[in-house]
Structures are given as C-alpha cells and as structure tokens.
Symmetry: C2
Subunit: 144 residues, 2 copies
C-alpha cells in the first residue's frame, strides 16, 4: 500500500464517523512531513453550521498543531473533491499538495473555482476512488 | 441614511476592530428581518487560522442565533468583496442578499468563482465604498 492510500484510509475512517452521525460522509486528514497534524469530518448538521466541512476543521486543527496558519509543507487528503469554500481555504493555507478520492461534479472546485488553489499546489485524484464514491452513494441512497 | 448604509457602518465598526488588532480590516454584519444576528471581523493573524475571515465568523454566529444553518432571510453586509472561500460559505448558507463595500480584484469571488453564491442571491455593491476602500489602503500603506 502506498503512503497516499494509507492516509486516504485514515480520511475514510473520518468519513465513516460522519456517516454514523447522519452527515454527508466526507473525511479529511492533513499530513506534514510524515506526521498527521489535523483531521476532520463533516459536521454541518450536528453543528448547524455550513462552514463545518471536513477540510475547514482539519485546516484549523493543523494550524493549531503546527503553530502557524500556512500549511506549506502539508498534504491534505480528502475523500471527496473540495467545494468552492474549502478550495478557497486550501488556497489561503498554501497547502503544498491536495489528494482527493472522488470527483464532485455538482459542487466541486474544478468546475466552479478552478484557480482557487495556490498556483504551486500539486493535485492527485482518484486515490481509493471506489471506496470514497461508494460511501457517498450509500449515504444518498439511504437519506434522500 | 438608508438601512444599507446604517448596517454597512456597523460592518465598518467591525473592520476597525480588525485594524486595531493589526489585521486586514474587513468587517461583516448579518441582518435577518431587521435584527442583527451575527457579526465578525478578520482574525486570521490573531487566531493563526486562514479560515477566520469576518464572513465565516458572522455566518457561524448567525446560524447559532437563528438555530439553523440556512440564512435564507438574511442580508450579509461586508466591507470588502468576499473571497472564494467566503463566497462558497455564503452560497452554502443560501444567504438571500449580499451587500459589499469595495471590490477586491485580486482575491474576490466575482473573478475567481462567479457562480459561488446561491442562484437567487441578490447582490448590491458600492455601499460606503470610499470608507471601505480607504480602510484597506491605509492598512496596506502602514503594514506592507
């Protein structure tokens, strides 16, 4: 298993926490030089707060762990393509690398804000894609 | 003075709190049916958190005040054009109306995520524009 796959499994474990809480199952892990510095899962229903996406919480956590707001040596793993809001946050934080599992054509930044990330941010997608997509499908079949 | 000008002056008072704390001076007020339900000012340096923009904090506050995450009957006043991240949050919250003071051509959503807001969101710009822009200019002349 590659490091990317290993960290994406951690992000999927976060997504499962969201699923169990009745939340859209998205999970995120931020890794800095081999160390997990932030985690988060979607909590928008629980907190009644649209800003409580997995990535936003993980970014806040990582900045606290590292003692600074720029995540220039970090890789952010998230199970689903970030939305416009989260891509904007990833851009502000100057995240070095973004890895996501499955595309979100309805809400994803690639369609609606393709320049939101920092120009130097490297993007890898499709890691554990089937697992990430299946979580979402199962959720929406159950809840909507 | 119009209601829009009155509420923008409140947002400017929030921006002044940011200025005094050495933060980029942006302030935000959210109003729901004549009642102020959320306020915020930029705290990214103080909190060392890129997500601590004025709008994000005001949206979280308004959702707590109203007891629900959707701000469908709210107007969001902010001194400077929202960035991609904040426009995404304003979109998720389904804010009914956005009023901002001055454009931000370098970071503003109009250039980088023009479809981020909810399709029904009405936008008014240029309210107290000179005051909003002058706060920013003074800050950047002093700090950079």
């Amino acid at each position: 298993m590659t490091d990317d796959e290993r960290y994406m499994l951690m992000a999927l474990a976060e997504a499962d926490k969201a699923f169990e809480a009745g939340e859209v199952p998205v999970g995120c892990v931020i890794v800095c030089e081999g160390r997990v510095t932030g985690r988060g899962h979607n909590l928008t229903e629980t907190l009644q707060d649209v800003t409580a996406h997995a990535e936003i919480q993980a970014i806040t956590a990582a900045a606290q762990t590292l003692g600074g707001k720029y995540l220039t040596k970090c890789t952010l793993y998230v199970t689903v393509e970030p939305c416009v809001m989260c891509a904007g946050a990833i851009g502000w934080a100057q995240v070095e690398r973004l890895v996501f599992g499955t595309d979100d054509p309805k809400r994803g930044y690639q369609t609606y804000a393709p320049k939101a990330l920092h120009p130097k941010c490297k993007v890898t997608k499709g890691v554990k894609e089937d697992e990430c997509r299946d979580r979402m499908r199962t959720f929406f079949e159950k809840h909507r």
